[in-house]
Symmetry: C2
Subunit: 198 residues, 2 copies
């Protein structure tokens, strides 16, 4: 372990995170200044910058715990989210859960620079790996490029736009993704009637 965190430091970290969560909840992340957070947390600017060099890193920290929880459920939770169910069902469950996550916390991401850095977060790679594994399990051919296409609507900016501007419901997004995935599948045996569009 690389040195214990001092007690006061831990306390302040908690304060900062809590203050930031409140502020991000009540107005766009863009409009929350580092100063706001420091003041609300009862902490000096220097202290804030020591741990979190910018807004994005705070948002990521806040997001992290929620994402971890979902990852845990994907790996070891009950079906259909966890292992045990057929791939298509697990995918549908994943979409629903992911939409739920976005629904609850996308405000952390929208409007700050997190959108970009979030991709670098380990979490996004995790979702990708998960979906890819399910596609492979379902014998969908050429999963590599498909994964990205299937994940794109869950990019925070895109999702936020679909919800806020277009007025789509979370259910509609989930359903569209599920239907899309359901339409995929192993190349039909020669001669089998295909349902695809010509």
């Amino acid at each position: 372990m690389a040195g214990m965190e001092r007690a006061d430091a831990a306390r302040n970290r908690a304060r900062i995170l809590e203050a930031a969560a409140q502020l991000f909840a009540e107005r766009p992340a863009q409009d929350v200044t580092m100063d706001d957070i420091a003041r609300k947390a009862g902490v000096g600017r220097g202290t804030l910058y020591r741990r979190y060099p910018d807004r994005a890193s705070i948002a990521v920290a806040l997001l992290d715990e929620h994402e971890r929880a979902l990852q845990e459920r994907l790996l070891r939770g009950d079906p259909p989210l966890g292992p045990g169910a057929p791939p298509a069902e697990r995918l549908a469950a994943f979409y629903a859960a992911m939409v739920r996550l976005l629904e609850d916390h996308s405000h952390l991401v929208l409007g700050s620079e997190v959108g970009r850095s979030r991709f670098e977060t380990g979490a996004y790679g995790f979702w990708r790996a998960h979906v890819r594994a399910l596609l492979v399990a379902a014998r969908v051919p050429g999963p590599d490029a498909l994964v990205e296409v299937l994940l794109a609507p869950l990019a925070p900016e895109v999702y936020g736009y679909q919800r806020a501007v277009l007025g789509l419901t979370p259910g509609q997004v989930t359903e569209a993704l599920t239907r899309l995935t359901a339409a995929l599948g192993p190349a039909p045996a020669a001669g089998a009637s295909s349902a695809g569009m010509t």
Copy 2:
């Protein structure tokens, strides 16, 4: 017509656009300040702000002409992009063209706040309407939510990420989208063998 534009004003507008195009090409839009643009264009700050209240509006102006050109081709160009070809082919052609457009000009959008405002641009609505119409023509059921999902990978941020970080080629993106769309289709008649994944 709401008043002619003065000759000097027109000249300066052109200068500004040209300067901005050069600057955006050589470094991330984020890092180009309004001052940079004004200086390079040989124009005062006030003049710049008069027409373009922020970076985003400049980028949108630059993007506009390219987007209009593609719109024109979609409406009145030769098949498969224009009318005449079967919907699936037109969609594939559209994807390819759109990827090309992003390939050439996504740097205008990435990193500035355009990402957001771009959605409000008429252009995005146009793409949506186009794809939706093609889905309808192909008798794909429930096109409304699907359109968004199919367009999501073409959101500039997402596309840029797939290209830069993931290393996907333009061709891969196009192909994934095309395959996805091809898999869609009218609900198969009861009893017909489905190629979809279970």
